[in-house]
């Protein structure tokens, strides 16, 4: 019964989505206020019905209803309750439902916080979001119904893939989807602006906070995925250039470019058509990512159930959305070019370079991801493009990007006086170059060209992003301090600097050792000794494991004990690695069990990973910068006005 209620709620949501997708657009065209108003009501109703459907699916998981095919395939009686909840979005059907729920939540947020926008504009935005929702709901109902029944019911489920039985992976998809789907708001704003043919600087101001919000969630989502891969897959790497990772990384790169180009459009009215194109591209890449992951067109470690019908459906949907958007763009964009000029040495120039480099980076990632497919179709056989290619190719746009970043931050709009520019940046630049060579020598006893470039670039970004906040702290009383959006920018760039430092140090000084150990054996890695004290059997709720007790010492002195495990999950019978990690802020010591070698010996991988935490910490700081920027007063005004309007409405009623 409960699954049928969910199914029914989804169908009702589809009918509301059709109303939301058609009426406000027609209303905006005819200037009919009542029709435009339907968008808000329909958005609320649609959200409620999709939430009911999502609740029904969750309930089916919690009550172990194995007559629902999706539940039978992805859950099990002995599965811990928290994973029964996260199993809802562990595979294609449920994660698509979550995707729709998040789209509805974004839509609802837009309809609540759009009182500042002209009614015609917000009606068009809601209309576009409604049409997108129609596509996804049809996709779910026609090809990927999560409520399909299984008859006769299974006695027990096939269990959730053990890889996904992890707290990090439980919250990674929701964050990632909030980011992915969030770009649909920027997309809808762009389409609405092009439909009305009226694209002024206000448009950029309205779009900015939504884009930044989506971007910060995407940042956190990608960071969590990277962290999970690090401790769960047992290789100790943090980024693998897997097609699915790339699928989330391309929208991130374009989204980052979009945030920067929106700044130019808002402040100076420039780059309008370019910004529109980026807004379309960011969301299109989110759709393309969905397609790549769920159609099975590209082989990836992320095993999503694949089905050619689904592939064709998404491809058709993606084709309609992107082609329509770009056709509209080709029609409208030519009239948007502005003839405002800017000096060669100006913030506009640097933001243009930022955009070019980020787009080049995204294009390289796209090419690397699609290359195996292209070559296979040209009968070139099966090839795989691995991390070595990406690591080299990606550095080409990234090195200039991080070096220019520090300069751009301190360059004025329109034109910048070269002398004062040099005066501000001289000291941080010299400090970064010197420390970039000296610090690695001091702490790790070695330096080199790439190492100095990376370390220096990281320091350069950190130092130059501290200038403005520090000045604001030391300012005279009564003078205006730094704005939230400038502070947000500084903080996000600081995070980028920490990230660059982390990546540089861990790739230069990572030590890795694979050895066969029996209890009592010791290996030395760097200054650290790892002694395997014992091997024992451990029972978990739905797995049994072999656990090694490894004592870590530094120059003979006891530091910590870690307990890496090799788990066998009882239903699916596959083996999982749980790494034992002893982490401090500036390094990780990582122990993972490999394979049993006989005679009580195990292959053990031991790694010393200096500053690896900076990678994820840097990403969190970047996201925090986004949050600070969104809280800027310019955007907050809107919420206050909204509540004033709300109160006035209540009083008058």
């Amino acid at each position: 019964m409960i699954p049928e209620i969910g199914q029914f709620a989804l169908i009702l949501a589809l009918s509301l989505a059709i109303c939301q997708g058609v009426l406000p657009l027609v209303g905006a065209h005819r200037n009919d206020a009542a029709m435009m108003q339907v968008g808000n009501t329909a958005a609320l109703g649609q959200f409620l019905f999709v939430a009911v459907a999502f609740g029904c699916l969750t309930w089916s998981f919690l009550s172990d209803d194995f007559s629902v095919l999706y539940v039978a395939n992805h859950s099990q009686l002995a599965l811990p309750t928290v994973y029964k909840v996260s199993a809802v979005w562990s595979a294609h059907e449920g994660s698509l439902l979550m995707w729709i729920l998040i789209l509805c939540a974004w839509t609802l947020a837009v309809s609540r916080y759009s009182s500042e926008l002209p009614q015609e504009f917000s009606a068009r935005v809601l209309g576009v979001l409604g049409l997108l929702s129609v596509g996804f709901l049809l996709f779910a109902l026609l090809t990927s119904n999560p409520f399909d029944r299984l008859s006769p019911p299974a006695a027990d489920g096939a269990d959730l893939n053990p890889l996904l039985q992890d707290p990090g992976l439980a919250i990674h998809p929701p964050l990632l989807y909030i980011g992915y789907v969030g770009f649909s708001v920027a997309f809808a704003f762009a389409i609405a602006a092009m439909l009305s043919g009226n694209l002024d600087q206000k448009w950029a101001k309205w779009t900015r906070p939504w884009t930044t919000m989506a971007w910060l969630f995407l940042t956190l989502g990608i960071m969590l995925g990277s962290w999970w891969a690090y401790y769960e897959l047992g290789w100790g790497g943090w980024w693998f250039w897997d097609p699915v990772e790339n699928a989330s990384f391309m929208p991130w790169l374009i989204g980052t470019a979009l945030i920067h180009s929106l700044a130019v459009t808002e402040k100076r009215g420039l780059f309008k058509s370019w910004t529109l194109l980026l807004a379309i591209t960011a969301f299109s890449l989110s759709l393309l990512g969905t397609f790549l992951v769920r159609s099975g067109i590209i082989v990836s470690v992320h095993a999503f159930a694949t089905d050619p019908t689904r592939g064709f459906f998404i491809l058709a949907f993606l084709g309609v959305v992107i082609v329509a958007a770009l056709a509209l763009y080709a029609w409208r964009a030519p009239s948007l070019d502005s003839d405002v000029g800017f000096g060669l040495l100006s913030r506009e120039t640097f933001l243009l370079l930022n955009n070019v480099l980020l787009v080049v980076a995204a294009t390289l990632v796209l090419m690397g991801t699609l290359a195996p497919l292209i070559i296979e179709l040209l009968n070139g056989g099966k090839i795989s493009i691995g991390p070595p290619w990406f690591e080299v190719a990606f550095l080409v746009p990234m090195i200039p990007l991080v070096l220019l970043l520090g300069l751009g931050m301190h360059t004025a709009w329109r034109t910048q006086d070269a002398r004062s520019w040099v005066a501000v940046l001289r000291i941080p630049a010299i400090a970064a170059v010197l420390l970039g060579v000296v610090l690695p020598l001091m702490f790790y006893g070695r330096t080199g060209l790439m190492l100095a470039v990376g370390f220096g670039a990281g320091l350069w970004i950190i130092l130059s992003s501290l200038i403005q906040p520090l000045r604001s702290l030391r300012r005279k009383k009564g003078s205006a301090g730094i704005t939230r959006s400038a502070l947000g920018m500084s903080v996000a760039h600081l995070g980028m600097g920490l990230f660059v430092l982390g990546v540089t140090v861990v790739s230069a000084f990572n030590i890795e050792s694979d050895r066969a150990l029996t209890p009592g054996d010791t290996i030395e890695v760097g200054h650290f000794e790892f002694e395997m004290r014992e091997l024992r059997n451990v029972e978990g709720p739905n797995y049994s494991a072999i656990e090694a007790v490894v004592e870590i010492r530094r120059d003979g002195e006891y530091l910590a004990t870690v307990r890496p495990q090799k788990r066998q999950y009882l239903v699916q019978k596959n083996w999982m690695t749980e790494a034992g990690i002893y982490a401090t802020w500036n390094r990780d010591l990582f122990v993972a069990l490999g394979d049993q070698l006989g005679n009580g010996a195990w292959s053990v991988r031991v790694q010393y990973k200096p500053m690896i935490r900076f990678i994820w910490f840097g990403a969190i700081i970047m996201a925090l910068g986004g949050l600070i920027a969104v809280s800027d007063r310019r955007y907050r005004l809107k919420a206050q006005e909204k509540s004033k309007v709300g109160r006035a409405a209540v009083e008058s009623a």
Binding site: A154, A158, P308, F312, V323, A327, A330, L373, V571
Partner: protein
Amino acid sequence: MSRYLLPLVAVIGLILFLVVGLKRGDPRALPSPYIGKPAPEFELPKLKDPEQTVGSKDLSGQLALVNVWATWCVGCRAEHPFLLELEANDTIPIYGINWRDTRPEALRWIQQLGDPYVASGFDGSGRVGIDWGVYGAPETFLVSADGIVLHKHLGPLDRASWESDFLPLINGEGSMQ
């Protein structure tokens, strides 16, 4: 105008290309690399009598099912009645691989629930399971008279999948002989 059309043209090209990519079919082409290939050779001690063995030699010359089962597996309990029914109707000989189990528990299971198998091999270490690419119990393989794997079924066997997946293959084999 033309430069504003460029993104549109590029995207249409990309989409056409992806259509071609999809048409080529699933690159992973599961379910099993063994399908259409000779079944892996095996020889295991019999569950009921460790002195004797059961293996590839017993399978050859007849169409047979090889069923991977274990007492700890709930799905195996679910499919057990259906296997007994197949056996009672003399549909097809069923050989068992008792996988990652203990002998006393497996013997008790057969005593209590009935024995649908011509013979079960005891694979306590899971060694033969690895050769056969077993992913999780229960799994059922359909092996032809000349030792070719015709089909692999994941999870509990039931009437619906029997009729849709196994029967057409069995009838096809019968008409060929």
